[in-house]
């Protein structure tokens, strides 16, 4: 047990370090896959375990990958240029209105996509906005930081906005509807508290009035654009300049958004009727690709290149590593030490699991933490209500509590990387100094709300 534990600890620490550090631009799937292979090779995780893990991770990964494909199609039709242009226009020169609009966009994007996708989409939009407004560094931070925090925390209200949540759903016997019924209100309260606290924290730094120094090209068509004004501005940092000159079709845009909304709703409606979630997501992604092909005659090469296919390997490998901890009996130790507290009542279940997963996530990232937390909860043999509340607290810890350090979530690490690439330097110290004022309060509000809300839903 001791040798196995030390072996697993070394493998796990090395994997987490390499995933965070990413030497020579290494993909996060590489170290995790190698570690998983080593664990399987030494027989800590058996072949039957691997088959089981494959089944659990596959559907969730396909669902998330299909969502990412949808966002790539939206990007290619100019969705994000459109969003940036409109947010600035609608703010009517008010920095505070712009602040709330950017937060709202980040929230909605996570609701319709997923946390990592939302960060990848909204961060360049916000960077672009604060750049054209020529804001000073301290004025940029409120928009960027609150956007990232809201985009990541917003993956808690519905189960389909986060890969880890989706994987764990199956294990605890919840579906998307029962998840949303129990989780939407408590996590929304937490997000609301966080956004208000961030606003008051940054109030002095958010400019009251904003002036657009550059002309901003509306993302419509080149004909219209030439008539209106000539602008050499590159709009979306992720979009190639040549791509930006292509015209945008408003009806196409509306159709694509309608499909995204319908697919999202279908994920809740059809799985209870026996249609797997991943089938619906694939159908939605195919519909968007087909419509784009009909209208723009554009194939699927850009999608094949841009889609992060490695997500499946990464999630699968991390789960194998976590399963290794279960097989060597490490989770049993945690189960024995936590059972007394968690099983006592729903309040204890909510607070203890939420805080434990927060600590674990900030030490070694939320994906393995939520997986480990879920295995612990299942092994405790709790009654179904306590198990589900403990699991939801687990999710709150991994989606909201994990925001305390950039290490906590992959989304925050991606965000910091995009900032650095765009010449905006925010140290880990500055990040923590701000979030420590808002995230713990948001976390406790969410966990307490979960307790009261779950009691009301379950016992009413």
């Amino acid at each position: 047990m001791d040798t196995e534990f030390i072996f697993m600890l070394v493998i796990f620490s090395m994997t987490v370090m390499l995933v965070m550090w990413r030497p020579i631009g290494m993909n996060e799937a590489v170290p995790s896959f190698i570690s998983a292979l080593i664990i399987i090779f030494f027989g800590i995780v058996s072949f039957s375990n691997v088959v089981e893990i494959f089944g659990i991770v596959l559907g969730a990964s396909i669902t998330i990958l299909s969502t990412i494909v949808m966002s790539i199609v939206l990007e290619s039709i100019g969705f994000f240029r459109w969003a940036a242009y409109n947010l600035l226009n609608k703010s009517n020169g008010s920095g505070r209105t712009l602040y709330w609009y950017t937060n709202l966009l980040c929230f909605v994007m996570t609701l319709f996509m997923n946390n990592d996708g939302s960060i990848l989409i909204t961060t360049p939009i916000i960077i672009h906005i604060v750049t054209i407004l020529k804001l000073k560094r301290h004025q940029k931070v409120p928009y960027l930081l609150s956007g990232a925090i809201i985009a990541t925390a917003s993956s808690a209200p519905i189960g389909v906005s986060n890969l880890a949540n989706l994987i764990a759903l199956k294990i605890v016997g919840l579906d998307l509807n029962s998840y949303a019924k129990l989780m939407f209100v408590p996590s929304m309260l937490g997000i609301l508290v966080i956004s208000l606290l961030l606003y008051y924290y940054f109030k002095r730094d958010i400019p009251k009035k904003i002036t657009v120094y550059h002309h901003i090209s509306p993302p419509v068509s080149m004909d219209y654009e030439t008539k209106r004004r000539k602008s050499g501005y590159t709009f979306h940092p992720l979009i190639h300049a040549q791509q930006q000159q292509k015209s945008i079709d408003w009806p196409l845009f509306c159709t694509c958004i309608a499909i995204v909304v319908l697919v999202r709703m279908s994920l809740f409606i059809f799985p209870p009727l026996g249609i797997p979630m991943e089938f619906i997501s694939i159908a939605g992604a195919c519909a968007l690709i087909f419509i784009r092909w009909r209208k723009k005659k554009k194939g699927i090469i850009d999608i094949a290149v841009k889609t992060p296919w490695h997500i499946f390997i990464f999630a699968f490998s991390m789960y194998v590593i976590v399963y290794g901890f279960k097989n060597i009996g490490f989770t049993s130790i945690l189960v024995n030490s936590l059972y007394g507290i968690v099983s006592e009542n729903l309040l204890n279940a909510s607070l203890s699991m939420g805080v434990i997963i927060t600590v674990m996530s900030n030490l070694f990232n939320n994906l393995p933490s939520v997986m480990l937390g879920t295995l612990i909860i299942v092994d405790m043999g709790l009654d179904s209500q306590t198990m589900q509340v403990a699991y939801l607290a687990n999710v709150i810890g991994s989606d909201i509590g994990a925001l305390l350090t950039p290490m906590g979530t992959l989304a925050t690490l991606i965000w910091m990387y995009i900032l650095r690439k765009n010449g905006i330097f925010l140290s880990w110290g500055n990040y923590v100094k701000t979030v420590v004022m808002v995230v713990p309060i948001g976390l406790i509000v969410s966990l307490l709300s979960l307790y009261f809300w779950a009691q009301w839903v379950i016992f009413s």
Binding site: L87, L111, P157, F184, V220, Y224, V261, R264, M265
Partner: protein, 35 residues
Amino acid sequence: MIASSIFIPAAIILYVLLKPPSHDMELLHSKSDGA
């Protein structure tokens, strides 16, 4: 029921955020009319 109570308001928010200003809308319509 749950899906519609979450996503319909969210879709409205998205529409409001993304709806082009009226002058751009007019130009878009005139362009599609061949103007």
